[in-house]
Amino acid sequence: MFNSLRMSMGWVHTWMGLVLGFVLMICFFFGALSVFDREIDRWAIPDTRFEPQPMPSFDKVLKPIYQQLRPDPVDLAATERRVIGSLPDPETLKLESLFAYTTHRDPVLLIGGEFAIPNQPIDPADDHQHVHGRATVNPATGELLNDDALKIGSDWFYPMHFSLNFNWMMVGYWIVGLAALVMLAGLVSGVIIHRKIFREFFTFRPWKNLFRSSLDLHNMTGVVALPFHFFFAFTALVIFASNIYLPVTHTTLKPLHEHHEKLEAARTGLPHEPAGVAAPLASVDAMVAEAKRRWSERDMAGEVGFLSMNHLGDENGYVSIYRAGSDRVALVGEGIHFKASTGEVIREEPPRSVVSSIDEFLTGLHLQHFEHWMLRWFYVFGGLLGAICIATGFVLFVEKRKAGHAKTGSQGSRIVDALAVTTVTGMVLAAVGMLVANRLLPADLLGKGHWEQTAFWSVWGLAFLHAVWRSSPVAKARHNPAWREQSLVLGLMSLCAVGLNWLTTGDHLIKTVFTDTYWAVAGVDLSLIVTALIAFFAAAKLRAPVSEQKTDNALSRNKQVNAYD
């Protein structure tokens, strides 16, 4: 089919990159936003604009809060469909386990638990016999926060980059997984296509024609961040491999699951079943103090990141305390488990094995719980470089073919260009549009989060319709004016979001940067202003007429073109 390896790799790179490039744009852009998801949450939920704090006292602050925790109505309804008979009054369900989770960037604390149910399952193999409850707490006051307020950063932008927020049958996860696999293939094929990889490190000639300068930018953004692109695509697959992409524990090994849990319990000494004998709860704060003392002894002084309790109120109850991995490339770890009724240590987890350490590093480098602001910004930069690489790939595809398509009357370039506008400017418009909607909708609006999601999809849908509507010049080998028009709207909307934040909360940049510094909100506002400046700059550049003749002539001279066939 092809005369050389480079040509066949060129085919793979072009067509697989085109088909899944639209998904990869979403992954890179929303992945970059996810680096600062908690900060976007603070911007979107003004009631939570206070300083991050470590895990509060369990005995004084958290214990009474868990008494206010109730089963989640959505999970309650889903559970009701899986069991025989009606569930009891939710107010009477008893909490059997609980957790609390925080990071160094969280002013609020996520708590949750499992409520036991007496009903038998319809499917005897169904061992999921509880209903979940979840709440967000202000640890400073001990108040439960309104969970109706959507955490736009951590509950919308963040899951968008790994699930597309398309949870039906986990389809979104599978599409993203396929895109990550294609990304790896795209990187390998890209390296094979480009022989002068080191020269391309520093080559960008914006004064050349659109095809040539886009190719420069595509190559450069691909190679300078090659390790970043590779590791993020690879670790994305590693993170979901065991429970979604290769779920052997939920399928082939499922019959052994219960047996494994019992063996694990016997090995670790952590009871698998409750004893059925009521027992009080000893001081959890004392257990936390002991855990911190043991971490210090191992030269790993730190804060609690995750705290959980199992078999609540039972003689076999135990408390697990995990260290936050803020100073390492790690999540939570170094778990120490205590007997809940006496506070004595049952088990201190040993240092990780080599395999486990590698796994922790790979997942930790992607999920970035670490406290390192420079590295976080570098990650944003890497994500945006990935987005530029893919966006310029779209431009190359269209620029290479549109003259030919104009002659034959094909609509191929036009369709790809309209989709490219939708996934480049349209996607950023959707994200900024959601922030604008967040500030315009009243805080106490019932189902505010759903309205914000509607705004997000509506803006994106409108951007798509606009891109298609304005795409006819591409079929005549000219440029789609939608690029410039959407850039202008993006610039205006970004400034609008900053202005609305000021008007609705009083938090303007002079206050958040200088007089009452709060970097989470200032950072989002400043990023919006930078977005606006870049969008206006792009719109101004796109106003300049481009000589189609020059582009075509340059194309015919270009020796690298064949590599992209």
């Binding site: 490190f201 520093f202 970043f228 590295l375």
Partner: protein
């Protein structure tokens, strides 16, 4: 505070390193010194560039835990390479400040 100083040193070393590695290519050298009638001493530029690249890694290791330092360093290389590429395409004259006389040979 010490950590910040090490990180600043790492950023400076990475920028210098990438600048010298870029100037080792004649095309980039000509972008920066178009009228001087000199050519780059490529091997000397490359050697200095690689030494500074290693230095930036050492500075990163001084600033952070090794597992974190390796990530900072890899990402720093991307940032530095991109910055140098942008300087070359928009303001190449900035790169004239990095001791060209040490690395130039007569054309």
């Amino acid at each position: 505070m010490t950590e910040t100083i090490w990180l600043i040193a790492a950023v400076m070393a990475a920028l210098l390193s990438m600048s010298w590695l870029a100037l080792a290519y004649e095309s980039h050298w000509q972008q920066v010194f178009p009228d001087t009638g000199t050519l780059p001493n490529s091997s000397r530029l490359k050697l200095t560039g690689w030494v500074f690249l290693l230095l930036s890694a050492v500075f990163c290791l001084n600033a952070d835990h090794p597992s974190m330092a390796v990530l900072v360093w890899v990402m720093l290389l991307a940032v530095a390479a991109f910055s140098v590429a942008m300087m070359l395409s928009h303001r190449p004259a900035i790169l004239k400040v990095i001791c060209p006389q040490l690395f130039a040979v007569r054309a």
